[in-house]
Symmetry: D2
Subunit: 434 residues, 4 copies
């Protein structure tokens, strides 16, 4: 677990204590199901239940140094706390019945926190999108000015992608909400399947359709994929903010709090450090993706090579993504948008962003596509090479071929931002229904 990037509510889920509590919850759920069919003395689970608050991770760890087996250490500890009734726990079960079922519970809890934060991020994106619905800015492809768009559309783009992420995370949550209480190799050798279905139902889980010793790891890989893609969405947001905040662009900047210092050397600096940090953290999350895929193929009814990977990957990836979502929400919410600068930049190329509109108008006069393209390119290059002395519009208006086909006023009309963005409403209607 990465302290610097941990928020307490998520760190708690992956704490030793919570893990052991989940283990006990699984043992007790199975015990109760066995009581029901008479395999275990009635009332056993109720007698053990109260020790849940006395579980002591350090004591368990101490026992593990001897047994070299975590679940056996845990059961020994429980027996020390609860006495004779504990003898009935784990009856006919294998360690993985406890471990995998508990991991499902922990992962689901982690996904619930993540989904909640993703929804919060979605909300602030929606808000900022509506706020800047009419804030025109230049659209950039290849880092080069392309055609006008709006700042609001960018927020809407992210908003709708986070919605897709929430969908993927929710499906992954369902895929992982699966436990397994079926014994050493998944054959229910020592108790009937009803014990499993009953116990898992009480925990809100479904049984693995066919298990080996363990829940199958394609499910965990699906979770990791959903986490990684969501992290990539945040990276995308952050990368754009970094582009906007570049000194020469200056269209937006991260909120800068009182007392914050940008650089130990250069007092003038205001750096987009939240966004840069988010780009790095996306790498951290996705670094677990390949291991998650490597964990799917195990030897026969299971080998334990996946275990050490999961001890690291599941806490780390959910902790980091949760932190990222929280930070992204703050980033987006606090982002200072500089409308004036957006307008300034939009006009920087003297209207080159309307070059396509000009070309299309020329085509409509009956000119061939290639000829039109070259005619416009010729004026664009002239404007570009003049270093500001000649705007694109002026270049067109001095070009006899162009004016011959479109007239001076015709050229003028093509430089109409409002017309260019007339379909924004239609897009918004697709994102923000009702």
């Amino acid at each position: 677990m990465i302290k610097r990037y941990s928020r307490p509510e998520m760190a708690d889920i992956w704490s030793d204590l919570n893990r052991y509590r989940k283990w006990l919850a699984v043992e007790l759920a199975a015990c109760r199901a066995m009581e029901k069919i008479g395999l275990v003395e009635a009332g056993t689970a109720d007698k053990i239940q109260p020790i849940s608050n006395k579980l002591d991770p350090a004591a368990i760890e101490e026992i593990e140094t001897r047994t070299k087996h975590d679940v056996i250490a845990f059961l020994t500890h429980v027996e020390e706390l609860a006495g004779p009734p504990a003898r009935w726990l784990h009856l006919g079960m294998t360690s993985s019945d406890v471990l995998d079922t508990a991991t499902a519970l922990q992962t689901r809890e982690a996904l619930d926190l993540i989904i909640a934060r993703a929804e919060a991020l979605e909300a602030v994106l929606a808000e900022r999108s509506k706020e800047h619905k009419d804030t025109a800015m230049v659209g950039r492809t290849h880092g080069i000015h392309a055609e006008p768009t709006t700042c609001g559309l960018t927020f809407a783009l992210w908003c709708v992608e986070i919605q897709r992420d929430i969908e993927r995370l929710s499906r992954a949550r369902e895929a992982i909400s699966v436990g397994k209480i079926s014994g050493a190799v998944g054959t229910y050798a020592n108790f009937p399947p009803e014990v499993e279905s009953e116990a898992l139902a009480s925990l809100g889980l479904k049984p693995e359709t066919v298990a080996t010793q363990i829940v199958q790891r394609d499910r965990h890989a699906e979770v990791m994929a959903a986490l990684s893609i969501t992290a990539a969405t945040i990276e995308k947001i952050a990368l754009t903010v970094r582009g906007w905040q570049r000194t020469e662009v200056g269209e937006a900047r991260e909120a800068f709090t009182r007392g914050q210092k940008g650089s130990s050397a250069m007092p003038h600096k205001r750096n987009p450090i939240l966004s840069e940090n988010l780009c790095g953290l996306a790498r951290v999350v996705r670094s677990h993706m390949i291991s998650a895929l490597e964990n799917v193929a195990l030897w026969h009814e299971r080998d334990i090579s996946h275990s050490s990977v999961e001890r690291v990957a599941f806490p780390d990836s959910t902790i980091v993504l949760h932190f990222m979502l929280h930070r992204a929400e703050k980033l987006v919410g606090g982002l200072v948008i500089d409308k004036e600068r957006m307008e300034h930049n939009l006009n920087l190329t003297g209207g080159l962003v309307f070059s396509e509109a000009v070309m299309l108008s020329l085509i409509k006069t009956g000119l061939g596509r290639q000829a039109a393209y070259e005619m416009v390119q010729r004026c664009a290059m002239a404007a570009h090479d003049s270093r500001g002395a000649l705007s694109f519009r002026e270049a067109l208006q001095r070009d006899e071929d162009v004016v011959g086909r479109l007239s001076m006023e015709g050229v003028e009309k093509l430089f109409d931002l409002r017309h260019h963005l007339r379909h924004t409403d239609a897009i918004y209607a697709r994102v923000f229904k009702g």
Copy 2:
């Protein structure tokens, strides 16, 4: 494209010719939609349509060496073939309108082939599962004998995982069935959204909710995740076959065809080369996963860094997975199961596989869990150390404490395979409904 691992029907999808045909299909669909609202002269698309069979990839490539832009080269070629009506094509569109929409069509076709093969694999797994429903074999965890299971359950395990893969692939198919015809930065600057919805509907696609210049790459990452996880499932199957075919295990082996040679040096060899190959190919497929995630975050309205990655990753990963599924189907279908050897191995440890049943019986007599564990472990180690001179059953029957609690006959009864596997039917009922 990897010739050795390409099947022709999949290679065709990613051929230059098919790509250009898809491009033309997108251009014509957009053209027809524009005709409908009067933006383009009626009948244009119909006039151009016939050239679809005359597209010449080599000619296009030749033009591209000059223009250094693939779509412009394509349009130039089309204009050469179709004459003046071609002038109306691509009106107000950007290259990505064509490219991304065509990629969606190709990827969907690829996924259709893949899903079909996955279903074929599922069918043969189901068949072999039913065939070997009662073929008992030893379950192994950590590579060590654990408890009995059946060969059929292993096939069932794979069958149900492939079903989950098919679900993931189908969802990915839906995620990628999205096109984009909305101009340079996704704002419909030069034609209304109706052109897009109309054109995409005719191609069986939905519009990207909010686009930049391109369809958003979280969708492509989702596809790659579904491909990678499916490849991991096949790796899992193959890894088990390799374990089964080991000389000392010998429980199953790949079909060996007439004339096949196992080794250039050792004429006696029969190696599980199909399975080994599948394990390697799973690595090839998943190697594209990280790049797919790296492709999500692009600069502003798009940069083109993702493009070269996708030219390689999409053909290669779908081609290889398709090959893998086909090979896995053949592998599973032809697998020679050695029931006798399975039975032989099951008995190899003189009944150690029933050690848990013994322990549970001891616990039921009122013995504490730890005490029972140690009593059984003591007999197990004695049997193990005797190198076959003493079976586990015998060791138990010589142990006074054990016999005192369970009796000779009581011990005998615990070594009952049929009892051990009594819940197999219940598991089958979950996999093979109806």
Copy 3:
């Protein structure tokens, strides 16, 4: 192999024909070594040698469909061409003796091409570095203006990194220049080690210190690491070019050839497509890194899971990196540097890039670090917030505290670019020795 990103000299190395020729070369080298110690009839290799020009990949492939074993198919083909003497080939050898030794030869050839191109790139970087030794530009950290640097230093930075890459590639070349002719499990069961050392020496290779059936794959992983890191260096160059070419920055741009078109929709576009392409291709190269690591651990004396991976990864990664190096050389060589724009941008913030110098001067007057920092930050923010109305220098000169400590002229003197860059020569001396 990826046609689009293949250059013919590298594609040839990985062609079927070259592979088979290398196989024959290895067989003949071993044969000659065996002739020398009387294991094989003298003159055998000389009799077979001439068929090297008649090897027919298609014929071999046809045989392989029957034997399902590539080396056996090859030997059968050789026997068809060379008749009885071919009987002596491969005596006591295993397929991997041929395959791994041939792969070493091919990989070394590939690395030679790569190193040559890396040296060419180094040369052009050195040239441009010297050309722009005095071209001042703003240094940027976090995308924000920091302090002045020079354009030449950036080229020098890349130059020296490519030198480190060449070192890594050269070491990898040595690590991979290792063959293996020691039989089925590396024990020289059928001929003495002298055969191997003799044969490998004639091919310019060293014997694997201890082999299993194969040359150990940590060597191949080292090659892949060197390729991946070199690709990352090129990505770094390309990413900077993309930053320079952004519309608002405009400090450099890729050469734009006659006839080239930037966009199908927007005739004014000049996009940094070479650089964007290079960024994508770096992802392609490094995507093979994890598989190369997965290939190290094989079962016992070898399993063949690595083989399919290597069939794809080695050609693809060397082909792509070779293409990248060539393209990077062209990119760097043709890069159009806009000195005026660099100067313009350097002055964009009204001298904020000298803020550290101001702070240090204040400290030297005896002011505490924090106090100095805050004094400068105050003026910097005032300048920033004035949107150009007030330069940083003016803000300082209006600040009583500052002027009280430094005087008007003192402030003036701190804005001296030449002083700031006075140590550039010392850095150059480290890169360009002699």
Copy 4:
């Protein structure tokens, strides 16, 4: 940091306290170098030095919540502890001067620990190799019996690969032993290069040839590659042990300590859990490799996206590899080799492992390669299909063609293990020189 897989000496290196001490060491080294040339008041560093033992990570963290800048928080803390002289620290330096130089020191310390453990592993491998020089065992390719080898050769194989790892780690240690004290963008704007060379020399580091704001990240990627490949070597060792310990193979097993329990359910289990754990941990180490490559290309003179990755990746990967090496040493040292079982398995196939020797003898009688191959394969298959009723030797001796060419005694002689392994000494001589 992953507590479960941390050994204290390595965890200490990456502790907050050690990091801050390294920062102070760098600041003081730079300060002393500045004193020497009169930039800073003589004796300053000596006055500050004593606070090194009073650095309080919690206090620094508390300040950082305000400044949001770690180095500034650190300097503030130092100023609180050391008073006025601290004003001279960090003069003209940038945070990365401190951070990157300190990271070099920490990484070098970590590599020193790792190399020491790798050498310890090498020693135990050498020892066991010598111990089992004459322990014959079957060599396996594809998991199938191939030809005889020895247990000692396998240890020698690993020993020599660890030697190569040590070489790679040592080169990486050199690559990373590079610091950087050259100001905000690496231009020595505020002090001459001599300060850097002097300060770094006192820390045992060399200056980065050309720096931006930071030391270049190809160096860190090289370190990560060396770590990942070493982890893969350990994975290879562990994977083989797992194969050896499989129930049906049983040739070696991990030492099982008193009190250890193999399974919570099955008291008979002795699982190779150390080895399985090592296989998983290799995945953990290599998962950082791609991020390390992603970190190379940063924006202009640096962006800070790499920072969060490194905070996780460097501690985690060195900690885990260090743990792995230690565990591997214990594993190898304690491995229980079962010579009898090795001999038993070697004979399992009734001599099939000598099939190549038979084929070669047939060829020497003048038979064509294919004919000889088929003759041997025929007998091999007969033996295989007889399920033990007929040994390979017997099958050969019943085959008239074989006996006609080799005679009964001739066949007999070919089954000579000692002859087969006669070149083992020569291989040992290459590994254990002198």
